[in-house]
């Protein structure tokens, strides 16, 4: 393995988010060590305590892994700064890719600025100003690659690391990820080339395609929450009345949650064939409702709680037809902040 001068310079940053994506990177276990042979982390505030000044000395950064949604003016400035500094910008995790959980704030009407903020002190620094809307990274600056998930699963994250921060050598231990990734990405990866720009490190189909449960004829009778009733019968969770979003979610995870009886929450975003995941879920659930009586159906619909927060849990700012902010397009060279 080559060493030293050829190492790729890597930056890692989280804007508004819980930093679990950063933990996921460290959670690559045995792969973390080989990673250091070909990547040199030059900026990682969370793990290395890096300051923004540390970036001044560096020339161009090869790859930046950006996690977290863009909610404050500081997030926006960080996104623009890291975009300008980096050759390749990767949105890691549902927040950076789609807006994520913080994006649900867009559902509340914008209120007045919080009043009577405490006097700023070293212990209590002032909050940076909030943007009018929470945004996905791609709505602020052009993004080259997307690694979805909350957090991204280790095989796909490792595949992404090798694809964009590797040295162009044939990758190691990719069996699982290669079988899940769409053809062009898997091929580029195996050949040690950069995958097509804009690639998503996940599958092309819906989670149902890789879910291990038995799917019979669907009849939706009543809405249940996972704690209310769960019988390990190995049958499709949606059929059992649990709101599983596998039908409207991109695969790649391999059905990890559904395999252990937890309904899919949709953290990989929508598959390319679906226009709006919320509408898809309405269609998937309601066309299988086991009733032909208008009143009975209306009663059943009443039992659903927080549809918008459920169906668009991770992707309201970017993939909800009615609330999405368009993505920035164009190559980053054309981008003038």
């Amino acid at each position: 393995m080559k060493q030293g001068a050829n190492k790729k310079k890597v930056a890692v940053y989280t804007a508004t988010g819980c930093r679990t994506c950063e933990h996921a990177m460290v959670d690559l276990h045995y792969e973390v060590n080989p990673l250091t042979h070909w990547a040199e982390v030059v900026f990682w505030p969370y793990l290395l305590g890096s300051a923004w000044e540390d970036l001044n000395g560096e020339g161009r950064v090869d790859v930046c892994f950006f996690a977290g949604a863009v909610q404050t003016a500081d997030d926006q400035a960080a996104a623009v700064r890291l975009r300008d500094k980096s050759q390749i910008l990767v949105a890691v995790g549902a927040c950076a890719a789609f807006g994520g959980l913080p994006g649900l704030a867009n559902l509340s009407p914008a209120g007045p600025e919080p009043e009577a903020a405490p006097e700023p002190s070293p212990e209590m620094p002032p909050l940076p100003p909030l943007l009018p809307k929470v945004l996905a990274l791609g709505s602020v600056v052009p993004v080259d690659y997307v690694v979805p998930g909350c957090p991204p699963t280790p095989p796909l994250l490792w595949a992404a690391f090798q694809a964009v921060a590797g040295l162009g050598t044939a990758p190691a231990r990719l069996g699982y990820a290669a079988s899940r990734l769409p053809g062009p990405v898997a091929e580029a990866l195996a050949a040690g080339l950069l995958p097509p720009r804009g690639s998503v490190f996940a599958g092309d189909k819906a989670v149902c395609a890789s879910c291990s449960r038995v799917k019979e004829e669907k009849l939706f009778r009543r809405v249940l929450r996972p704690y209310q009733a769960y019988e390990e019968s190995g049958r499709c969770l949606l059929e059992q009345g649990l709101i599983c979003q596998g039908v409207a979610t991109r695969e790649g995870c391999g059905g990890l949650c559904t395999a252990v009886g937890v309904p899919c929450r949709g953290c990989f975003g929508k598959p390319p064939a679906i226009v709006d995941p919320g509408a898809k879920m309405v269609a998937a659930i309601s066309s299988t409702i086991d009733s032909s009586d208008a009143e009975e159906i209306a009663c059943l619909a009443e039992d659903f709680v927080d549809l918008a927060g459920t169906f668009y849990r991770y992707l309201l700012p970017s993939q909800c037809l009615l609330m999405a902010t368009p993505m920035t397009v164009g190559k980053h060279e054309d981008h003038n902040p």
Binding site: D276, G278, A279, S286, S292, D306, L307, L322
Partner: protein, 139 residues
């Protein structure tokens, strides 16, 4: 009176509601010009995505017209539409679209009068609601 003219998208089924709309014209019922009709084979083929897409592209209201239950040309297509409507209406209202802006109506081929009345009613209702409000200003 404001000069707001609502745009209403009407998905009408080929066998009942569209025929009613046709007959309403032939019968010279007075109709407000705010309705844009899209003919579909069955109300059951109107995917919730179509409705969301219509709103996303700037419609102020969406109405789906189908055959009365029991009269569907495809036996049960309208029942499928009926199952989707309550949940879709709920999702729309959570996304800031008032319930009055989305309707599912049964209009038989022999009901041009009711067709004209329902459409005019909806136009008036949405006119009084005014244009759609954004949940949050665009950044």
């Amino acid at each position: 009176m404001s000069d707001f003219e609502p745009k209403i998208i009407a998905f009408l089924c080929n066998w009942c509601s569209y025929v009613a709309a046709d007959a309403a014209g032939v019968s010279r019922f007075l109709q407000k010009p705010n309705v844009r009709v899209i003919r579909v084979n069955c109300s059951g083929m109107v995917d919730p995505t179509y409705v969301l897409q219509a709103f996303a592209l700037g419609a102020d209201g969406v109405i789906i017209g189908g055959c009365w239950p029991g009269d569907c040309h495809y036996i049960s297509g309208n029942i499928k539409a009926m199952r989707r409507a309550p949940l879709l209406k709920k999702l729309l209202s959570e996304l800031g679209i008032e319930p009055a802006r989305f309707r599912l109506e049964w209009i038989a081929a022999s009901e041009p009068g009711p067709y004209a009345r329902i459409m005019n009613e909806m136009v008036d209702e949405i006119r009084s609601l005014g244009p759609r409000r954004e949940m949050r200003a665009t950044a």
